[in-house]
């Protein structure tokens, strides 16, 4: 997920707190050491508790699909100032927020806990789209969330190529495990064929 670092006119930079809330990462800002929940989209402790950062639309897709749409894109360099083997996945075979032995409460059984979903929230209503279902249907999926029309574009090779409103404006969405999405959006609906 991508957020603006400008919150109510002040600029912040963010680090990784090492803490989790509902198995999801808590960031902290270097300026006030408040804790920010990525999926709750809010500072949950510290001087900025209750503040909400602005969420910005981004695409989670393949490099191939992104490059095709944005041939002049810049790419984050592996020259990060840190020595890491970027060809290796540190979470191989292991969910990055440490699985569900951390309490997330009761997990709704609509989907299996670790099924990946594309989550969209509009007008206070949340909806989860199972990625496996999206991948099977290349083209444009038209649906409604919170009474508003949305379009999810799936490339011919099954990648999510864009999430837009009826006016064609990109809208924020997130790839998440089902258990994490439903923990933060207990009333979420789930898209079915």
């Amino acid at each position: 997920m991508v957020y603006s670092r400008n919150v109510e006119g002040k600029l912040y930079t963010f680090g990784v707190s090492g803490r989790l809330y509902k198995s999801n990462v808590l960031l902290y800002d270097h300026q006030t050491e408040s804790l920010w929940s990525q999926l709750k989209e809010m500072a949950i402790a510290g001087p900025l508790a209750g503040k909400r950062p602005e969420k910005l639309a981004s695409d989670r897709t393949s490099w191939k699909a992104w490059k095709k749409e944005h041939p002049r894109t810049l790419i984050l360099s592996t020259d990060t100032g840190h020595v890491r083997d970027y060809m290796v996945d540190p979470y191989e075979g292991y969910y990055r927020t440490l699985g569900i032995w951390f309490p997330v409460g009761k997990v709704r059984t609509d989907l299996s806990p670790k099924e990946m979903v594309l989550g969209i929230e509009l007008s206070g209503k949340a909806k989860a789209y199972p990625i496996s279902l999206l991948r099977k249907n290349p083209g444009v999926l038209r649906d409604k969330v919170g009474g508003k029309g949305i379009e999810i574009e799936i490339s011919p090779d099954g990648e999510v190529a864009g999430v837009r409103d009826e006016q064609g404006q990109a809208i924020p969405s997130i790839f998440s495990y089902w258990f994490a999405w439903q923990a933060f959006h207990p009333e979420t609906s789930v898209y079915k064929d």
Binding site: V16, G18, A45, R72
Partner: protein, 101 residues
Amino acid sequence: MNRCLIFSMLIILSVSLAGFKLDNAIVPKEEILSGGPPKDGIPALLEPKFVQPDQAKFLRPEDQVIGIKLKGEAKVYPIRILNWHEVVNDTVGGIPIAVTF
């Protein structure tokens, strides 16, 4: 796992939370847990560098990325790198952003 074990685990985890002020937490404090690595154990990027598409040889076509376009500027953040840093503090199209994973 029995209840007693889970309870002891929660106690151990909560004790290691020293460092952040949680007095005014707006979620139950006992639900804020240590994730293993300490603060900054996973280093966020503060001064990210970028390369052009023809220099991005480390990327395979099917590699997953998070891409954003703001005010005409497009930037893309490979999951391969986000896996190790979780947060990139950047500016795109003049807008200060945090890419989180």
